[in-house]
Amino acid sequence: MKATTWQGRNKVEVEEVPDPRILNGRDAVVRVTSTAICGSDLHLYDGYIPTMKKGDILGHEFMGEVVEVGRDAGDLKVGDRVVVPFPIACGHCTPCTRGLTACCENSNPNARLAEKMYGHALCGIFGYSHLTGGYAGGQAEYVRVPFADVGPVRIEAGVPDEKVLFLSDILPTGYMGAEMCDIQRGDVVAVWGAGPVGQFAAASAFMLGAERVIVIDRFPYRLAMAAEHSGAETLNYEQVDVPDALKEMTGGRGPDKCIDAVGMEAHHSSTAMYAYDRVKQAARLETERPFALREAIQSCRSGGIVSVIGVYGGFVDKFPMGAVLNRGLTIRAGQCHVHRYMAPLLERIYAGDIDPTFVITHRMRLSDAPTSYEIFKHKQDDCVKCVLTP
């Protein structure tokens, strides 16, 4: 079958690889009908995530048709149309039973690798380096889905792929970012990052009752999308000083809740700050560029919540812990526990409360993946989200 494989920094190739097959009783094999490139895939593309091997199949946002089931795959049947969540969860460990599926203790055969660096094992994830298990990903024609009795969610006929594909990752992720803010009546929520996750975080913040949402980015077309589709106010950090502007916009209070939907490869308008982190990151002395996070902490109203859903991989320099402590901030973070959001958000989609397709700007074939990565990485052609069909 054809699959998008990692071949080094800034290099992906669509190669012919073996077809997947059932390895364990709880497996299923899915024929992919739609898949997408995630912003966090760019961290792999840019070479910032360790333990990648040439030939690794990428992709963790995918859906399709079940073509094979193991004997213990629950009530999943061949022919079922499913969306598959990106964290791989066994369903029976303590975190899984508590809804923290992205903390599954059993799904990573390379648990020991991650333990040294992170303190405990990471859960398995499709197509996201050997730290998360070395699973073949979903930017391919077929994928083996472990624990298929727990993960995949059935989709009824008549609903286009595009409407539900993002249940695999970015829609629940944006939603969880907003949910972690514990939004109260009258809250102003600031969202750093107007990529697809930031777009959904802003939309979700309104769904959860925010009074106002302010989205921060440097690309006017992305800010325009947030304004048009979610009703968010916008700030371009290349034109204004964000903490000052936020204070001004909120009667001096600052945003009550802040969402970091940017993560480790942030940009910054202040040359000195950017140079410091950029140089350290290039020399691999620092693994992250945490501008958005620092700014969110600085800007957040005292006693507020900073919700982090942007991806980080390692360690952050110059973390404003003093601000966190002295102003009573709460930091909540996590990879999205996708499983627990899929059904409720699917209902919302069926009910017309949200149409996730608004973020899609590019539709290409799987064989065009290398081009897609470049367009997506460099934000060419007003790219926000690229969907690939095999």
């Binding site: 699959a3 494989t5 690889v17 073996p18 077809d19 997947p20 097959r21 390895l23 364990n24 009783g25 709880r26 333990t51 091997k53 040439k54 030939g55 690794d56 199949i57 213990d72 066994c90 369903g91 029976h92 460990c93 303590t94 039973t97 203790e105 059993n106 799904s107 990573n108 055969p109 390379n110 648990a111 020991r112 690798l113 398995g124 197509g127 050997h130 298990g133 070395g134 699973y135 073949a136 990903g137 083996r144 472990p146 624990f147």
Partner: protein
Amino acid sequence: MAVLKQIDPTERPAGEAAPAMPRGGGAPRREEGRLPRIDAHGGETLAKGLGWFSIGLGVAQLVAPARLCRAIGIEDDGEATTLMRLVGVREVVAGVGLLASNNPAPWMWARVAGDAMDLSLLGVAMTDDDAQRGRVGAAMGVVGAITALDVVTATALGEGAAGRGASMHVTKAVTVRRPVEEVYGFWHDFENLPRFMTHLESVSADGERSHWVAKAPVGTVEWDAEVVEDRPNELIAWRSLPGARVENAGRVTFRPAPADQGTEVRVEMDANVPAGPLGAMVAKMFGEDPSVQVGDDLRRFKQVLEAGEVVRSEGTPEGARARRHLNQRPAQPLPAGE
């Protein structure tokens, strides 16, 4: 399943001699399922101390040769101070060698040779008219004592290296979200162990006795073991029987975890790994760090009981395995037939 009676680990059937324990220092501690530790480090500790002593003395000889000459009763002329400095260099080199080397034994013997040289130099000095014989005599006495210490240490190091095995002790814990009875019951049937202990090929149990077959780089290593203590839902302790090439013992305790989290399982394993090729083979079986192997075993144990299967990925198709961590397959499906 046979009910196992409590066994007093110190009681021996009539006529059976106590199993020969490997040589080593330290008093054996006889808890159930525990083996005495070999202390192979006495000689090495002495060697390290003597190494520092050498460096200290050598530096003094280099820095203040005249003063030292006078201290040991020799006239501090140019010849003597030069000689003292050369001896200082020798001392420092020997000291560094002792501290830095993986095998300190030859450096220890080098020290002994140096002591012999010092003794003969002092002997010659005794005959010198300008010498203060009392002091030279005292110096000879001190050097003589140090020589004796060096010889003893060098000998001990040599013996230690020849007979050196090591004791391997591993402790690991895991929490399994199943009731204590189920977790205890699963472990109690030793024939289940190869399902998650990948270094084991098979275990066959017959009452209190069991026969274990472990995979080795070439062929297998086999031994018999007995259950030493069995407290249902609390503890199982076992020990290899005399005659096992690699003496080993283990104990696993079970305890309810807080709230609804299942069972806390704590494993302790001891093995006396012999020197020589057998020891090297055992080291290979367990990888560099036996606790990593045991950790992986327990991870698989938890997966089997909670998730029903050992999780497999394309990068690590056999399931969690220490050796795979540094040698991943690419994350793509296995070719047909693999």
